[in-house]
């Protein structure tokens, strides 16, 4: 036994140790075929006019991108809506979520039930949320307009049928779900704060606002960064709610749904791929930012 062990060890040390690669073989193979290779293949498809039927896609260079950026109105509409979504997502849920987390961070009787109410939308699928809110926004019989009529608004807006309001109505439904998520992340962040910091500030005579502004908020900065990155990525992924609530009509188009419509409804797969590449390129900025933080953490370790 001991002899076998002594022989075994130097052999393993001298050569490349293949053991980790054996463990990685199956996961990496799957990941390359279904995730990595497709990413590059879409970039290739974006340079073609593939219609989904031709065996070999026809190469057209940068034509798709040229059309997107110079001629396509829907593209600029979608881009603008994604920006709106993004701006709302990094401000409103973040503030509301932080406020709620500050309240629930204190022990209180029944606090658990209030918390559950706020994060329960998280377990609902986006199609369910889309349907539920679609009913809230129903122009005649819905909850919202029923209420508005009851308090004397004679012609309440059509919400999802209104070109000016529709995108905001969809974003509100998305925010409703996101707040609980942000709250959970901030609650976890607050739990990790060393109470001695807070006590020290209190001894120095800091009031509640000063405590929050100058002690708690700076200590939460890493959590805030992650929440902002997650919010941005989520707002670029926005698809389900638009697809269910408006299908992109009434000025609510977003890049993800626009890509789906072009590729899978209009069979302009090359063009759809180009939209996907634009979406990917925007995401890449934030993926890169997040990754640089992960890399920094690893190298410090």
């Amino acid at each position: 036994m001991a002899a076998a062990l002594q022989i075994k060890k130097p052999v393993v040390r001298r050569r490349i140790n293949w053991t980790p690669y054996l463990f990685l073989l199956a996961p990496l193979a799957l990941y390359f075929v279904w995730i990595i290779a497709p990413t590059f293949y879409t970039i290739y498809l974006s340079l073609t006019n593939w219609n989904g039927v031709d065996p070999v896609p026809g190469f057209v260079g940068l034509q798709n991108f040229e059309r997107l950026f110079t001629k396509d109105r829907t593209f600029s509409e979608a881009l603008l809506n994604n920006v709106r979504w993004l701006v709302v997502f990094i401000t409103i849920p973040t503030t509301l979520g932080l406020g709620l987390a500050m309240i629930f961070n204190n022990e209180m009787r029944g606090g658990r039930w209030y918390k559950i109410s706020f994060y329960s939308p998280l377990v609902m699928s986006l199609p369910v949320i889309g349907l539920i809110w679609g009913w809230v926004y129903h122009p005649r019989a819905g909850l919202l307009n029923g209420f508005l009529q009851a308090i004397g608004v004679s012609s309440p807006p059509g919400w999802l049928g209104d070109r000016e309001l529709a995108i905001w109505a969809v974003i509100i439904a998305a925010v409703w779900r996101q707040v609980g998520y942000v709250m959970v992340l901030y609650l976890a962040g607050l739990k990790n704060i060393d109470p001695s910091f807070v006590d020290a500030a209190r001894v120095d005579g800091a009031n509640r606002w000063q405590l929050f502004r100058h002690v708690v908020l700076p200590l939460l900065a890493p959590v805030t960064t992650i929440i902002v990155v997650i919010s941005i990525i989520d707002s670029l992924r926005a698809f389900d709610l638009v697809s269910i609530m408006t299908r992109g009509a009434q000025n609510t188009q977003v890049l993800a749904n626009f890509m789906y419509i072009e590729a899978f409804n209009n069979y302009r797969m090359g063009y759809g791929a180009a939209i996907a590449v634009v979406l990917f390129a925007i995401s890449l900025v934030f993926i890169g930012f997040y990754l640089s933080r992960v890399i920094r953490d690893e190298l410090e370790y």
């Binding site: 279904w34 990413t39 377990v123 699928s125 009529q149 389900d240």
Partner: protein
């Protein structure tokens, strides 16, 4: 009784305590009233859907949503469950979600183990690749995956969805499990190595049991993610009979166009599985949500 009260509370504090207490009490009460009102407003869309699902559309159309319900009916649930095939859709959701969950946890525990336990040249690059992959927009994958499933004769099968969910979620699972496994002290494995345990045995009999808490949290979170997927289902499936409940609801919406009580009933039934998981595994669910962002 009265004597006991008198002896246990000195007269001095007796007058002071309620005075301080009432101020605090009013503050507390105010907070509770505020939170209760806020919670009710917050849940109003769900409450509205719930109430609607027990009413008839005729009655709502005539009297409006805010009228007092004339009668309650269960027929909407019956219609959603049977005619709109929500029962079938729910079954499909499970057929897709459970194998995907097992697949992603098994495969990512293998990769996480390799990345957490061994020093090798490509360790960090592979890890960063998995981390970056978790944030890809799905749109960059749709067309090639669609084409690939067609080429492999997997289009319009549950297996196609199981594979893509397994592959995509592996990135996040590897990320979480790798960071968890790095907290397991190496000495445990040194002892096992001395005893002659093979690498795979150490993985299977030491690391996996130790990782179960992290895996439970991950599984709970991933269950809701995969169960609630809509995009891949509409890309990779064509037959209505194969659709999971998310895509099925979109069909139901078209079918019962203006019959909102049936639509809301269907939506509520569709939420039950994830709601049940959430209620019973809440701790794991919350842990799961914070796992990925913790580091």
């Amino acid at each position: 009784m009265t004597t006991v009260a008198k002896t246990t509370t000195p007269p001095g504090t007796r007058t002071a305590a309620p005075a301080a207490g009432t101020g605090q009490m009013w503050g507390r009460a105010g907070l509770y009233v505020f939170l209760t009102v806020l919670t009710i407003i917050w849940l109003l869309p769900v409450i509205a859907a719930f109430i609607t699902s027990f009413r008839t559309m005729d009655e709502i159309s005539i009297n409006g949503f805010w009228s007092v319900p004339q009668q309650f009916t269960l027929s909407n649930f019956n219609e959603a469950w049977n005619q709109a095939r929500v029962s079938r859709y729910l079954g499909n959701s499970f057929i897709i979600t459970i194998p995907a969950l097992i697949g992603m946890l098994f495969l990512s525990s293998l990769s996480a183990y390799a990345l957490a336990r061994y020093k090798f040249k490509l360790n960090l690059p592979i890890y960063f690749m998995f981390v970056a992959g978790t944030m890809l927009p799905f749109q960059i994958l749709l067309l090639p995956v669609f084409r690939l499933t067609n080429a492999l004769n997997l289009y319009n099968t549950h297996l196609a969805l199981i594979i893509i969910h397994t592959a995509f979620q592996m990135g996040f699972c590897t990320f979480v499990l790798r960071n968890f496994m790095r907290t397991v002290p190496g000495e445990i494995f040194d002892a096992a190595r001395v005893d002659g345990a093979s690498e795979f045995r150490m993985f299977w009999q030491i690391m996996i049991p130790l990782s179960l808490p992290a895996m439970a949290a991950l599984a709970t979170l991933e269950f809701t993610w995969v169960f609630n997927d809509y995009l891949w289902a509409i890309i990779l499936l064509q037959d209505d009979t194969l659709k999971p409940v998310t895509a099925g609801l979109a069909t139901l919406r078209g079918q019962f166009n203006t019959n909102w009580p049936v639509i809301t009933a269907g939506a509520l039934i569709a939420t039950l599985p994830t709601l049940i998981v959430f209620i019973f595994l809440q701790r794991y669910f919350i842990q799961g949500l914070t796992l990925g962002s913790g580091k």
